[in-house]
């Protein structure tokens, strides 16, 4: 059992972790998720007593790590696969750790066998691949056969066979009644491995719930609605009706509409009432990956952008640019992009006036229930919904 209460860590002016409280229970794999730089590793280091929290505290089995009796027999950790002296052989590395912990030396050969490194045990770890390094780190964590295990990004650099092995190892360790705490930024991996999730972003807790609940709460499904492409005015009419009924409508690049906040029968009824024919009305369930991306998109520190080679290309002639105004408000047809909470839409071409910036980071409520900041007129703040009313929209349609 790992228990953190009000954990805060500041490095100078930068707050790496802020007021983090959570529990990691035995008998389950607990995934620790967050974007790069969100404070996962800092939290792990504080759990292990390597970094002193600025405030708050964290205990393992009721004791702070540094006061834990027989700590290496109770806690094993893989923090960084490269945290070994490269000049030392794998076996000597593990032997020195075993001796330090009062563990019999024959256990070293045992864990080398478990992770499959027995053939390279006498080679210097400098020559190890990243995957072999991960295996060596996992061997070190398993050395004391501990009750509590922490793994920081254990599948980094592993081959598919290794990933599968780690996945099964985590589950097996948890099934034996141990506490397994695994950090990762790969939601897809965690969806397969973890039973419980702790999600942080910018050092703050975003979610602490079971994987099932996480999906239910966050992966808002949507309906794809397609009206006859030959009649764009039908599409605009339908958008207006759906928006009025409390749904959120976003256009997709190929002319379909993505609707959230309304059940499929309701959409059908509304369309029927508005006398709009439908070519498609299909349900779509967002994956866990999408749910995670949506939850953390506001908390991402390092965001990649398109390489636009700005300034290196010849400027286009000033004038009408059909791609600028409209496509920016559309959502990609494929990919993770689920409807963002209002006010957080990076695709919105014009930020709506008085957007709620300090919104609760938990998008627990479905987007439709979020307070609509203005009247549901076509020019309303959900910018994508306003797009069909944009006069440039139809001209783009024609240009296609």
């Amino acid at each position: 059992m790992i228990e953190a209460i009000g954990l805060t860590k500041r490095y100078g002016a930068k707050t790496a972790v802020y007021d983090l409280s959570f529990q990691v229970r035995p008998g389950a794999v607990t995934g620790f998720l967050g974007p790069n730089g969100s404070g996962k590793s800092t939290t792990m280091r504080m759990v292990l007593g390597l970094d002193q929290p600025t405030s708050g505290h964290v205990t393992i089995g009721g004791h702070p790590f540094r006061k834990l009796p027989n700590a290496p027999r109770q806690v094993g950790a893989l923090l960084d696969a490269k945290a070994v002296h490269g000049g030392r052989s794998a076996r000597n590395h593990l032997l020195s750790l075993a001796q330090l912990s009062g563990i019999p030396a024959r256990r070293v050969d045992e864990v080398l066998g478990v992770v499959g490194l027995q053939d390279v045990a006498r080679r210097r770890s400098k020559g190890f691949s990243l995957g072999m390094g991960q295996r060596l780190g996992i061997a070190a964590a398993l050395l004391g056969d501990p009750q509590v295990l922490l793994f920081d990004e254990p599948v980094n650099g592993l081959d598919p066979e290794g990933i599968l092995w780690v996945r099964n190892l985590m589950k097996q360790l948890a099934a034996e009644g141990r506490t397994v705490f695994v950090s990762s930024h790969l939601m897809s991996e965690m969806a397969l491995t973890a039973d419980h999730l702790i999600v942080i972003g910018r050092g703050q807790l975003l979610a602490d719930m079971s994987v099932k609940d996480f999906i239910a709460h966050n992966s808002a499904g949507f309906a794809r609605v397609r009206t006859p492409q030959t009649e764009p005015q039908q599409r605009e009419k339908l958008s207006a009706v759906l928006t009025e009924a409390g749904g959120r409508v976003m256009p997709e690049p190929d002319g379909a509409l993505r609707v959230t906040g309304l059940a499929l029968p309701a959409i059908s009824d509304l369309a029927h009432g508005a006398d709009v024919r439908l070519w498609e009305l299909s349900p779509h369930q967002a994956s866990l990956e999408e749910a995670y991306m949506r939850m953390t998109q506001a908390a991402v520190d390092f965001r990649s952008t398109d390489d636009r080679k700005a300034g290196l290309m010849q400027q286009p002639a000033p004038g009408y640019d059909p791609s600028a105004a409209v496509t920016a408000s559309e959502v990609p047809q494929q990919g993770w992009y689920a409807p963002p909470p209002p006010g957080r839409n990076p695709y919105a071409s014009t930020p709506p006036g008085g957007a709620p910036t300090g919104r609760d980071p938990h998008p627990d409520t479905p987007p439709a229930a979020a307070p609509a900041p203005a009247a549901p007129a076509p020019a309303g703040p959900p910018a994508p919904a306003a797009a069909p009313a944009d006069p440039t929209e139809s001209s783009t349609e024609d240009a296609r």
Binding site: P26, K82, S96, Q99, S101, Q147, E176
Partner: protein, 276 residues
């Protein structure tokens, strides 16, 4: 496993019991671990190997040179010819002392180590002890063999017992303490190149500075630097002090022990308080 949650009874729900017998680790375990560490990296072999080569090479060459230059036995004890070899060899010891601690920081190994042993003082004590004993034994044994060979080559008279003792055990202790000082500095600086540079500066700079202090007003500073610089103190152990005053007999050892103790005390404090 002994009960990990004593407040919850012997078998709390979901707890895992390891079949491997649990015993509390102690300083002896840490010593064994540090011995494994220090013997399993090449930097140990290189630094101590170079030191032995330097002590033998310079010691024997100077003995040959002395015996070739004058047929008469030299007035001073022939053991003092070992001085230059030990002085240069001490640079190797400084390097090894710094590397023993700083390489753990450089590689990140320190986090693995402190996860396996949360008692940071125990880790540092074990490192210091293993390193000190290793350097002391190697230096003393090498100095004794070189001394014996020098006596044979230079065909000098028998040196007194105390001369022998100071030139072997004394020099060994002095070099090992200098190494401990480097180990403490390494634990404070946590960066190999930085700590080695600082330590080489500490050894060489006072003498170099003193050479350029011509001004009369700096006379006292110059004398102090000359007398108490690390090479001069090592020279005292060989009865070849740079000047007439300053430390004599076994005093350099006490001075160096004080310095090493202060550096280690600071290292204990820093290691205990700082994040790793």
């Amino acid at each position: 496993m002994t009960t990990p949650y004593p407040q919850q009874g012997p078998h709390p729900q979901g707890a895992y019991d390891s079949p491997i017998p649990v015993r509390a680790a102690h300083l002896g375990d840490a010593l064994a671990s540090e011995w494994t560490k220090i013997r399993s990296v090449r930097s140990t072999l290189w630094t101590l190997g170079v030191m032995i080569v330097l002590m033998f090479g310079i010691g024997l060459l100077s003995a040959v040179a002395v015996s070739a230059a004058s047929p008469e036995p030299p007035e001073e004890s022939v053991l003092s010819l070992g001085f230059f070899g030990v002085l240069l060899g001490s640079i190797c010891v400084i390097t090894l002392g710094v590397m023993t601690v700083a390489s753990e920081y450089g590689t990140g190994m320190i986090r693995t180590t402190l996860t396996a042993c949360p008692s940071r003082a125990r880790v540092l004590t074990a490192k210091a002890l293993v390193f000190f004993l290793l350097v002391f034994v190697i230096t003393t044994v090498t100095a004794a063999i070189v001394g014996a060979l020098q006596t044979a080559i230079a065909d000098a008279g028998v040196s007194s017992g105390e001369d022998w003792f100071r030139a072997t055990v004394g020099a060994g202790l002095f070099v090992a303490l200098l190494g401990l000082l480097s180990l403490g500095v390494g634990a404070l600086i946590r960066h190999s190149a930085g700590a080695i540079t600082i330590m080489i500066g500490v050894v060489l700079l006072p003498l170099v500075l003193a050479l350029f202090m011509f001004s009369e007003s700096l006379r006292e500073v110059q004398e102090f630097l000359l007398e108490y610089s690390i090479p001069s103190q090592l020279g005292v152990l060989y009865d070849t002090p740079v000047t007439g005053q300053g430390p004599s007999g076994w005093e350099p050892l006490w001075i160096m022990a004080g310095l090493a103790g202060a550096a280690l005390a600071a290292a204990y404090l820093a290691l205990d308080r700082r994040d790793v």
